[in-house]
């Protein structure tokens, strides 16, 4: 058989399978979509409930407590600037999307990472899958998601979730495996049960690595959320996408600045939180 025929046949199968799933899977995907959008709307509602300066003030306080007064002031001013540019609604909606997707990615990724840290064969099987997820162009994840969940934030959430999960899994597994040998020996010699060994010895040593994983997941999510603007994610991603289509350079630059501000504020906050846990563990 000709190879190109084989490839065409395979493509036809995939198309058929996807349309079959989207025709017959409504009873799964509709509630799934509703749940995702519900979570997203909940976070968004929380962020948009208070006026923008309250959120900016919270950002400033966190920056001050976690880093220093200077960083706090900067974070506050930067967030106010997002509002001054007239992009507050978009900024909060992007924020909500990133936070929701990252939390979902952590809820799934950290337990998987813990299992991978303990079970060698599972880790080995997982490795190529994670490699695949991380090397495929992120646009790919939008297609099946849009076919099954339609246009809107649910699709953006799923695609962002997929991209944000691998670092959480990898760094959690690494942290679990990294427990220094003398402490494992101490645990055995003190008569610890497996559960005690996990909670009292392995987990404390893994926390800095897990925190680094959370930070990395967040950054991956930010990268994806702009791309997800194509599928109607709302927020800054969609603003940028719209600006590109109409060649509205000014708007696209404003939105890009807002993205950068949001990313930097969240990155510094989570990074310093990670360093705090590490500092305590020293």
């Amino acid at each position: 058989m000709d190879i190109s025929v084989m490839a065409d046949t395979f493509d036809a199968w995939v198309d058929d399978a996807l349309s079959w799933i989207s025709d017959n899977g409504d009873w799964v995907f509709d509630p799934f979509r509703a749940a995702l959008e519900g979570a997203y709307n909940g976070v968004l509602w929380l962020l948009q409930l208070p006026p923008f300066y309250v959120i900016a003030l919270i950002g400033a306080l966190l920056g001050w407590r976690l880093i220093n007064a200077w960083a706090g002031a900067l974070a506050g001013v930067a967030l106010v600037f997002c509002s001054v540019m007239g992009l507050w609604d978009q900024t909060t909606s992007t924020f909500a999307l990133v936070v929701t997707a990252t939390i979902l990615a952590l809820l799934v990724g950290i337990p998987i990472g813990i299992v991978a840290g303990f079970v060698r064969w599972f880790d080995r099987a997982l490795e190529p899958v994670l490699d695949l997820i991380q090397t495929l162009p992120p646009y790919i994840y939008l297609l099946p998601a849009i076919a099954l969940l339609g246009f809107g934030p649910a699709t953006a959430l799923v695609a962002t979730f997929v991209v944000a999960m691998p670092p959480a899994i990898r760094l959690t597994a690494l942290g679990i495996r990294m427990t220094p040998h003398p402490f494992i020996e101490l645990g055995h010699a003190s008569g610890l049960t497996s559960w005690q060994m996990f909670v009292k010895i392995r987990l404390p040593f893994a926390i800095p690595s897990v925190m680094a994983g959370i930070n990395q997941s967040l950054m991956m999510a930010f990268g994806m959320v702009v791309i997800a603007g194509i599928v109607g994610s709302g927020g800054l991603g969609e603003t940028i996408y719209g600006a590109i289509r109409t060649l509205d350079i000014a708007t696209s630059i404003n939105a890009a600045i807002a993205i950068v501000i949001l990313t930097m504020v969240l990155d510094r906050l989570t990074q310093s939180a990670a360093q705090r846990t590490e500092g305590r563990a020293k």
Binding site: P182, A189, L192, A281
Partner: protein, 363 residues
């Protein structure tokens, strides 16, 4: 080994013909060892397996500090980990307090480790996210002892090692010597009968090490604990141990008191080791004295009864002091009222230089 003493006191740890073989074909090698009596070298050649511990038999009695001395790679750390089954023995029997530990199930083994066998590590292994007090209470915490009770016990243990002012500090704030004291307090807090010490003081500087050695010995004796103490330093073993086992390439070459090992080394390896050891406080009168008859025949005009007298347990240091005080060049050794021998200056010099007893008699 001194069998008379063996019978007299209770054996807490009994290790009989224990082997540990490392390598992918270890089970086959173990079978060959028990069936065909293979030697270590044959095991390496035939099965490509390394013998970590080779046919080791030791007994540790209640209240005894038993040192295992050997260079790195001699199998001493493996041997001590066999005692609490951190490493499973390939062959042989290990009995702790009359219970064969290879027959314990997981829960019994945990209980045995938590209650009866404490362990102190060279790396100390203090949990960095816990305070000194929480570290010392760790063993009690995992046994589910209420916080108030365990903190009180841990505080008492820290008190014993002189760290009562440091309870709320973190390990990183302590010096190496203090950290090791916390390690010891952690082991003591659980109140085990047996404490395994895996080269605990090796990483410390000489002054602190010596101080900790003395404190450890004094504390262990006053609490009536038994201890297996691993070290690569013979001086440390002599300072601390009631008895010493010397290991080389997985084999226990000699077991005995410090004096046994220094005065009667079992082979060239041991005698090389003891060559640099100061004998002043190790060698006792009974191993350097000349029989009375021989002394009389060599120095007929010297009356034995006129000499200063001492006991057979007097060490060379005391003998030198006595000889200096005396106007004669000899000291009489008295046991049960009778003179059993004479220590001459010649004998003293031999004792300090470390000539074997047989040569001494010939001279």
């Amino acid at each position: 080994m001194n069998t008379a003493m063996n019978d007299a006191s209770e054996v807490l740890v009994d290790c009989q013909n224990v082997w540990k073989v490392f390598g992918s074909r270890a089970p086959a090698a173990v079978k060959a060892i028990s069936d065909r009596n293979l030697s270590k070298k044959q095991v390496l050649q035939e099965f490509n397996c390394v013998v970590g511990v080779c046919d080791a038999s030791i007994q540790i009695r209640r209240g005894e500090i038993f040192c295992i001395m050997g260079l790195s790679g001699s199998g001493k750390s493996t041997l001590v980990r066999l005692l609490n089954r951190l490493i499973e023995p390939s062959l042989g029997r290990i009995t702790i307090k009359g219970k064969e530990i290879s027959k314990l199930n997981a829960a019994e083994l945990r209980d045995m480790r938590a209650r009866h066998i404490g362990m102190v590590f060279q790396s100390v292994a203090l949990l960095p996210n816990r305070t000194v007090l929480e570290n010392a209470a760790f063993g009690l915490e995992v046994r589910g002892i209420p916080k108030e009770v365990r903190n009180k016990t841990a505080k008492a243990a820290l008190d014993q090692v002189g760290l009562s002012d440091w309870v709320s500090r973190y390990p990183s704030e302590l010096s190496g010597g203090m950290q090791q004291r916390v390690g010891l307090a952690r082991a003591l807090a659980a109140d085990p009968e047996i404490i395994l010490m895996d080269e605990p003081f090796s990483a410390l500087d000489p002054l602190i090490r010596r101080q900790l050695q003395d404190e450890f010995r004094q504390l262990t004796k006053s609490l009536g604990k038994s201890s297996v103490f691993i070290t690569h330093d013979l001086e440390e073993a002599i300072r601390i141990g009631d008895r010493i086992a010397i290991m080389k390439d997985g084999v226990i070459v000699q077991v005995g008191t410090a004096e046994d090992i220094v005065t009667k080394p079992a082979d060239d390896y041991v005698s090389d080791f003891v060559a640099g050891i100061s004998r002043i406080h190790l060698v006792k009168a009974h191993s350097v004295m000349t029989p009375v008859a021989e002394f009389k025949s060599s120095q007929p005009n010297c009356g034995v009864d006129a000499l200063l007298k001492t006991s057979p347990e007097a060490d060379i240091g005391e003998l030198i002091d006595l000889t200096m005080k005396s106007d004669r060049d000899a000291v009489a050794v008295v046991e049960n009222g009778a003179i059993i021998g004479v220590v001459t200056i010649r004998g003293l010099l031999r004792g300090v230089a470390g000539a074997p007893a047989a040569e001494l008699v010939a001279a």
